[in-house]
Symmetry: C2
Subunit: 293 residues, 2 copies
């Protein structure tokens, strides 16, 4: 997905939000905003928006002299999501079609995105869960994912954010998990999950966890490690969580199931759905029909 | 009032809105947005936000090869406001304190601001009128303005937008109008009123109308004509309409009554009121107490 001119106000908003969260000094705020504006004036619109997000957040990390500004927030949401876990497991187990419920909950977890919601509350997380369980649904998407997972030999599950990965663990435990490798980011970017998050929430005990060697809030193959790209090409099914993975992989010729909330108007417009829609998109149908929850 | 870093996303939004309204070609849109980003990266934050608004809209006019992109919109709102005029006159005449009602209506008219509302509807204008008439009020402000107007020898009334000036005419007819000179902008900027608008709505028949020689969406004295600056300095009372005039004149040591709606979060935060508040601010009290409707 290309960058839209409508992304630019949001790049600046994201910059200001991150600087607020870090309580950056006024002169640092001004320096960063000016650099972001200058950088944004020159970007290649053919690149996906997370390519710019990566540069912006790397710049903020450098100027605020911090390597992982969202570490504390990530830990908080890992703990909060873990506290919900037993109840979520029950919901899945008691469901007539556990995979469907687990997919819905995995999408619900995608609300924990500090690129969009810097002041997310637990009540918003609960609301997202409720919405995901109650949304009208097209059952075809779940059956297609189910079938693809049964037929696949190697499944690569591209994670998104800390906290959210607890919801991913739930889905992984519902899928044939012996085929699954979970992927985290190579180094800190916003609140995207890292290996330590996967370890903390017990995901490393369930499936192999690798990192993609990059620090983009999405999966930009050109920036990923050779090892990751090899695994990506070998896998016969990719499950990709979140808006960033959709923005960076929607044009890649590969069978990918995207699970996300369309949290920004540009992505929603690109997909052709309402903002905040919960989506299960099969890349086989992306140029034609869409399978939206 | 200085430029805040929070103004930057809005500068880009305003640019995109203006380009949308002009149905600009994609390559023109991209060129303008890139130029605005580059320009914004270098601006002096000590300047008021309308200084940047002026540059942005001048750039858009140049790149879209149009000198007055809002001409049609201005004429439409002049006509619409004129159609309301007889009813507004009745409201003022039937009021126990006509000046108060006329001030409230003049503030209501400030909603016709295409820098903020590019898709304004008549129902929003009606709602603004209703809100202005019903807002709880501090009567002190009206009495202070009334007294200042009685005592003044020369009153300069700085207009804001086309359409809105019909509401200004109403207030002018309630004040000692023989003392008043009305001021329009020197050349087109957004939907700010020009001499032709003042003529069209019959204001030139009521009071002398001069222009300020500039094309900023506010009053930046350094950019105005010598003649206007002389008149500004001579006047013993200034009535300044709208956010742009507040942003550009709030630090000028002069008795000014600002009548505006605080339509953006940065201005509202600066003043210390809720967004969309209707305000009558006496500059004498600006550093201390505020007189908000």
């Amino acid at each position: 997905m290309k960058t839209s001119l409508e992304c630019f106000p949001c790049f600046i908003h994201q910059t200001l939000n991150a600087l607020d969260m870090l309580n950056a000094e006024p002169q640092v705020r001004e320096k960063v905003v000016r650099e972001v504006l200058r950088y944004a004036s020159q970007i290649d619109l053919l690149l996906p928006p997370p390519a710019t997000g990566r540069v912006i957040h790397t710049l903020i990390q450098r100027e605020c002299q911090t390597t992982d500004p969202y570490r504390e927030a990530k830990e908080r949401f890992n703990r909060l999501a873990l506290s919900l876990y037993p109840d979520l497991v029950r919901k899945v187990k008691n469901s007539p079609y556990p995979l469907e419920t687990a997919v819905r909950l995995a999408i619900a977890g995608n609300i924990i995105d500090f690129g969009i919601h810097t002041r997310l509350t637990m009540s918003q997380v609960h609301q997202s869960i409720q919405d995901a369980l109650e949304s009208p649904l097209d059952p075809a998407g779940f059956r297609l994912l189910d079938q693809a997972a049964q037929e696949a030999d190697q499944i690569l599950y591209l994670g998104d954010n800390a906290g959210e990965i607890v919801f991913d663990r739930l889905l992984i435990e519902t899928l044939p998990r012996e085929k699954i490798t979970f992927v985290v980011k190579g180094s800190p970017i916003i609140n995207d999950a890292l290996r330590e998050d996967a370890e903390f929430i017990g995901l490393t005990d369930r499936v192999p966890v690798i990192d993609n060697g990059a620090n983009a809030p999405g999966t930009i193959l050109e920036l990923c490690s050779e090892e990751f790209v090899r695994r990506f090409q070998q896998a016969d099914l990719i499950i990709a969580k979140g808006q960033g993975n959709f923005e960076t992989l929607s044009d890649v010729p590969k069978r990918i199931f995207f699970l996300l909330k369309a949290k920004c108007p540009v992505v929603a417009k690109h997909i052709g759905c309402k903002i905040n829609s919960m989506l299960l998109l099969d890349s086989s149908f992306l140029k034609g029909e869409k399978n939206c929850l």
